[in-house]
């Protein structure tokens, strides 16, 4: 901590419980919040450049490395964008396997965030390790749920970290029904535990905060969105994913090396659990809808602190959906469909645990990538997170630096930012003048 005669700067070191590398700076002058800036050090654009000149079969493996927590999201968006460019659709059992794999990632990611990152905030612990000392059984439950997700990734994806079994057109190898069968017992247990999780997090105290941002998510005709859908928003947007770049525009901001995404009209928006839930309440499976209402959620949720409850509902969705797929699985005739290269442009958006993830590729006739665009959910959420913080800090200026910092970190964690996941530091600075 440094003290000056006219200003005070508090450096709190690493905000460890966020995946990624970033810093946040809050400036206060004469008791008024002057500026809130989330600075991103990590240049996600590296991967877009790195992909140019690569073959059309390579993006799933390369882009999976963008994020350690959500590699499947990158693989699914990449595969479907390439397939779109080549005029191929993957359906039937292969699509079911993709959805099962994606459920595994949602289970892993949501369980990790709820239990290890977010719940300690609400229960007054500085970390999950401290929480585990007093609530060991609860933490063990969370880890067991997460492990169920790991096992899905291992069985379907080939391994729990950076799955190696995914390829454009499907999978290198499709699991047999016998290989999926052991997942059933685990998923039955995980689904019960997810239901307990909804009840547990619903009992937390939540500040009465309402986000004013627009909400953006995919919407599928029948499913809770994951692999595909139309692009919809709380402001009335309803467009095909091919129009994504017309509606979500990226711009450079001075304080960040990452691009900030916003809606074409200039509105800041969020993607992720709150948006998905609020725009797709009627697509929730009955079990999850009942649990959400019993937990006190309405059909729309704009309180970012209650994102932990929504995330728990989505955990239940993923367990329920994965169980259904495992119970009805019939292996595909072939583990993949052929995706011959052709010149063209393809795009796809899927719902990563943290929100809508868009990929677009341009291919030449040999299948070489001539350009790539990747719009991750956290880049879209950053402006809205700053908005949240601006409103959040103002009535809390009476708090000392340590407590204000802690609460700001909590407000950031509401959105589970994954700041491209290559390194893991966020420095938070509150400057009072």
């Amino acid at each position: 901590m440094t003290h000056g005669t006219t200003s005070r700067t508090l450096s709190v070191g690493a905000l460890a419980r966020i995946e990624g590398e970033a810093a946040m700076h809050v400036s206060v002058r004469d008791g008024v919040v002057e500026d809130v800036a989330l600075r991103i050090y990590e240049p996600p654009r590296f991967f877009e450049a790195f992909l140019r000149g690569r073959g059309h079969t390579e993006p799933p493996d390369i882009t999976a490395r963008i994020c350690g927590i959500c590699p499947v999201a990158y693989q699914m968006s990449a595969c479907q964008a390439i397939e779109d460019a080549c005029g191929v659709r993957v359906e039937g059992a292969l699509r079911d396997l993709r959805r099962l794999l994606y459920c595994g990632e949602w289970i892993e990611s949501h369980a990790l965030h709820i239990y290890m990152l977010h719940a300690p905030d609400f229960l007054g612990y500085p970390s999950a390790v401290h929480m585990a000392r007093d609530h060991r059984a609860v933490v063990e439950r969370g880890l067991d749920i997460k492990k169920t997700g790991n096992e899905i990734l291992t069985v379907v994806g080939g391994r729990a970290i950076h799955p190696v079994n995914v390829r454009v057109g499907g999978f290198h190898r499709a699991p047999s029904p016998a290989e999926l069968r052991p997942l059933r017992e685990r998923l039955l247990r995980a689904r019960d535990a997810a239901l307990d999780t909804v009840r547990w997090v619903a009992s937390f105290d939540f500040p009465d905060v309402q986000g004013g941002w627009e909400m953006l998510a995919l919407r599928h005709p029948t499913e809770y969105p994951m692999l595909e859908g139309r692009l919809v928003s709380s402001g009335g947007l309803d467009a095909p994913v091919h129009d994504f770049e017309r509606h979500v525009v990226e711009s450079h901001v001075r304080h960040s090396t990452a691009l900030h995404g916003s809606l074409a009209g200039g509105a800041h928006h969020i993607t992720g659990p709150l948006a998905r839930y609020s725009l797709n309440f009627d697509r929730l499976p009955a079990l999850a809808r009942t649990a959400a209402l019993a937990a006190g959620l309405g059909e729309v949720c704009r309180n970012p602190f209650q994102s932990i409850v929504v995330r728990a509902v989505e955990l239940l969705v993923a367990c329920d959906e994965a169980l259904h797929i495992v119970e009805t699985y019939e292996p595909p005739a072939r583990p993949f469909v052929d995706v011959p290269a052709r010149a063209g442009r393809g795009c796809a958006a899927t719902e990563a645990p943290r929100g809508t993830l868009y990929h677009r590729y341009d291919l030449d006739a040999e299948g070489t990538i001539t350009s790539a665009v990747i719009v991750p959910p956290t880049a879209q959420n950053q402006a809205a997170i700053e908005d949240d913080l601006r409103g959040f800090v103002a009535p809390r200026l009476h708090l000392d630096d340590a407590e204000l910092t802690r609460q700001c970190e909590m407000a950031i964690r509401n959105h589970d930012p994954c700041i491209s996941c290559a390194t893991h530091f966020l420095d938070l600075t509150v400057e009072r003048r």
Partner: protein, 153 residues
């Protein structure tokens, strides 16, 4: 529960020297040591706990930055406190590994013995490929891991 020996490499191959542990891991895998499981990790703490729970020996290979010359090997048994001291802000996974040790201690999920093989990194910018100094440390690191595994066997 696992038993035997688990070797875990933590890193990102698209952050230059941060990928060194994965190169070391590949070298260890190629040795096909009996009773030794090799796992790649992004350093997430609960996954580390899962990976080493019940193991007789866990060898964790990671990039480190302590101020020593790039390519310097750090080999030793470390607890969470020591690790936090030895791998300050430069090591991109330091906090996760320290968290994993602390969590493992609370939940009684530590391996019987834990060896950390750290490789001092130089360049951690975007892109694949190790710097020359760090690439030269891969073979000695593989030997260090092999010796540890052989002692247990």
């Amino acid at each position: 529960m696992n038993d035997g020996v688990v070797v875990i490499g933590i890193g990102n191959p698209y952050r230059r020297d941060d990928g060194v542990a994965l190169e070391v891991l590949r070298g260890v895998e190629a040795l096909r040591l009996p009773g030794v499981r090799c796992l790649e990790s992004d350093g997430e703490s609960t996954a580390l706990c899962d990976a080493w729970t019940g193991a007789q020996l866990a060898v964790v290979i990671d990039a480190m930055r302590s101020g020593a010359a790039a390519g310097t090997l750090h080999v030793g048994t470390m607890g969470a406190d020591a690790l936090a001291v030895h791998t300050p802000s430069g090591g991109s996974h330091a906090l996760s590994l320290a968290d994993a040790l602390a969590l493992g201690e609370v939940l009684e999920r530590l391996p019987a013995r834990l060896l950390v093989v750290g490789v001092e990194v130089g360049e951690v910018g975007d892109g694949p490929g190790l710097s020359e100094a760090v690439a030269a440390a891969v073979a000695p690191a593989v030997r260090a891991v092999r010796e540890a595994c052989t002692e247990v066997a």
